[in-house]
Amino acid sequence: MFIKQLSVFIENQEGRLEQVLEVLKQEGINIISLSLADTSEYGLLRLITSDPAAGQAALKKQGFSAMLTDVLAVRLAHQVGRLQEILSFVCKAGLNVEYMYALSNKEGDASIICKISNGDEAAVLLKSKEVELFSQEDILRIFC
């Protein structure tokens, strides 16, 4: 139901993002999707990767603050209004989107990663509306 997102705290300093990516490259970890949220002093790098646990371990070893977070990976048909429709379910249930970013998909559909205020409730809700959620295995199979 959920997939693991690798979240990394990065200070706004020259070369830090590159260093994170270097660590992942050394471990042979593939990045499937990412989003970078920035403030004036630090950034938060959110990654969907081929091996989140190994990525976290490698980054921690190099002194980065890295954690795994459960997020939803939602398949979207390439169709006008589909994302709006899905969000309307979420809003009507009184849930909030904490953040969201796009996920590339080899099968031709669009897809998104999102974290919703109450993850469990959101997952059950979306399933009941026949919205397709990717599992961790799906991610490896479809995206890598």
Binding site: F9, I10, E11, E41, Y42, L44, G63, S65
Partner: protein, 432 residues
């Protein structure tokens, strides 16, 4: 001008005779009224009768800030509550305040000492003085206020925080003297400079203290404002501002020795050092009733010069401070211990994250930035979570130290680690 020539210009013999007489009385008072001192003296096997004069001072036990904390709030008071008329409090090393109490006579003597200091600065009853130290639990505001009233000057109790009102009144009232922290005075000078109002003010003297400052800062203040600036010293445990102050020759701060007996000790061995050597300054109060203290360790490092001064005073002079023997910082006049910050962080996260306090002086005002390493227990994958964390840390720190600090989250293991004792402070002000 000398406020109290009899006391300030005594010969060394007369002074030592007076100090001895008062020391015997003080020891007698604390032995009979304060359980803490009675026990401490019994532990080392001395009775009041063993102290015949200042030559016996070294036999007495020391008092530290921790002793005040351990006896919180009133445990060291040597007068019944009915005699105490005021308390002040300063921050302790780990959150609990240090409470000090004064009898009416204590307040009179305090005012006398501040009046001496103001007189040294050339302030008289014909002056108008703005007291721009904080009024309240801090001893600065009310302490300076009492002395200025005793002197007979017109006192304008500004307190801190409203620089615009202060500068307006300075011009409109024709204020001639000010008492505040040196960094605040430099800030005031800049505000006046920017508005081109320096020619309109009548200020001639400033009595600055409550935080360390350099000879350079003094010159800068004097040049910017065309005034004379004086260094006043004090600590709430001993009394408050007015324990010592420099005169127009600026060759050390005259200690009001008839009330506060100074000595210099080696902070490691705790043995008294020979005259003239640099070590930790220790005070024994000689006339206090509310909170008399035996050999209170100030942790300030200095030396004492007993030679008579060109100004005519014979009062011993302590040199400009050469640092501290503990890790206390004075930021915007507030005493801050790194242990307070540590305790606040511990309460938030359950574990102590690595942190670094960076103290600087920007536009003549002290700034405090606290960098905190974001570890597992603090981390969030949401910006909102991290922002809340920053705010939470900020509130906890402000509650603990009474100062607003800028909180900056940094990556783990990026703050400097030292081999031995952890270094948690970078002071960029270069005050020593």
């Amino acid at each position: 001008m000398i406020w109290n020539e009899t006391k300030e210009c005594m010969s060394r013999d007369e002074m030592e005779f007076l100090q001895s007489k008062r020391l015997v009385k003080t020891v007698d008072r604390v032995y009979h009224n304060v359980e803490f001192y009675r026990k401490k003296m019994q532990q080392v096997g001395i009775e009041p009768g063993d102290i015949k004069g200042i030559e016996d001072l070294h036999k007495l036990p020391y008092t530290t800030k921790n002793d005040l904390r351990d006896t919180y709030p009133f445990g060291l008071f040597a007068a019944p509550k009915s005699e105490i008329v005021r308390v002040h409090a300063s921050s302790g090393t780990t959150g609990k305040a240090t409470v000090v109490g004064y009898t009416r006579r204590d307040l009179d003597i305090w005012s006398e000492c501040v009046a001496r200091a103001l007189t040294q600065a050339g302030v008289t009853r014909d002056d108008i003085i703005q007291v721009a130290y904080g009024y309240g639990l801090f001893t600065g505001g009310l302490g300076a206020h009492g002395g200025a009233e005793k002197l007979g000057a017109i006192v304008v109790p500004m307190s801190t925080g409203n620089t615009k009102k202060l500068t307006t009144m300075m011009k409109d009232f024709g204020v001639t003297a000010i008492a505040c922290t040196p960094s605040y005075l430099l800030h005031i000078a800049e505000v006046l400079e920017e508005s081109g109002s320096i020619p309109e003010i009548k200020l001639k003297a400033a009595v600055c203290g409550a935080e360390p400052w350099t000879e350079n800062m003094r010159k800068q203040i004097e040049e910017k404002l065309h005034i004379h600036a004086f260094d006043i010293y004090g600590l709430s445990e001993v009394m408050g501002p007015g324990v010592a102050c420099d005169c127009e020759y600026h060759k050390g701060l005259h200690v009001y020795e008839d009330h506060f007996l100074p000595e210099i000790i080696d902070p490691e061995t705790l043995k008294p050092l020979p005259k003239g050597e640099t070590g930790e300054l220790v005070f024994t109060t000689l006339t206090k009733e509310g909170l008399p203290l035996l050999r209170y360790r100030t942790k300030d490092l200095t030396s004492i010069d007993y030679s008579p001064c060109e100004c005519g005073r014979t009062l011993a002079r302590i040199s400009r401070f050469k640092g501290r023997s503990d890790d206390m910082l004075i930021i915007r006049g507030v005493n801050v211990f790194p242990s307070q910050v540590e305790a606040a962080l511990l309460e938030l996260g359950g574990t102590t994250p690595h942190y670094m306090m960076i103290v600087d002086r920007k536009n003549n005002l002290d700034t405090l930035e606290i960098q905190v390493e974001v570890d597992e227990s603090f981390f969030s994958d949401e910006i909102r979570g991290l922002e809340n964390l920053t705010k939470k840390i900020g509130h906890a720190i402000q509650n603990a130290i009474g100062l607003a600090a800028k909180i900056k989250l940094v990556e783990p293991k990026t703050l400097e680690r030292s081999m031995g004792k952890a270094v948690h402070v970078i002071d960029k002000r270069k005050l020593v």
